[in-house]
Symmetry: C2
Subunit: 62 residues, 2 copies
Amino acid sequence: MCEANAYIYHDGKEELYLENVDVMRPEGGKLYLRSLFGEQKMFDGEIREISLLNHKIVLQKK
Amino acid sequence: MCEANAYIYHDGKEELYLENVDVMRPEGGKLYLRSLFGEQKMFDGEIREISLLNHKIVLQKK
């Protein structure tokens, strides 16, 4: 499988936000995320870094 | 392996931009991309959609 986990970066720490992310796209100034299992979330922030080999998406609030 | 290919969306078409993307992050208003093989590119635009299960990153110019 090729999904990644999304974390929120804050104060030097990363907090798990959504596991097994499949789809991610900007939508109305926010970020829409959907997991492999259909869970959907809207994050009010932006991408900090994606590393696919590490299966990791790091987000941060604006 | 868990990398994805990056395409640029334009006029309903997708043109290959960078294969085997590992890292992607915003940098100075642009998008920095680095492939598995160390190739680096700066794209003057934004993310349209990422689908990890499809190994696909779609970018678009601003």
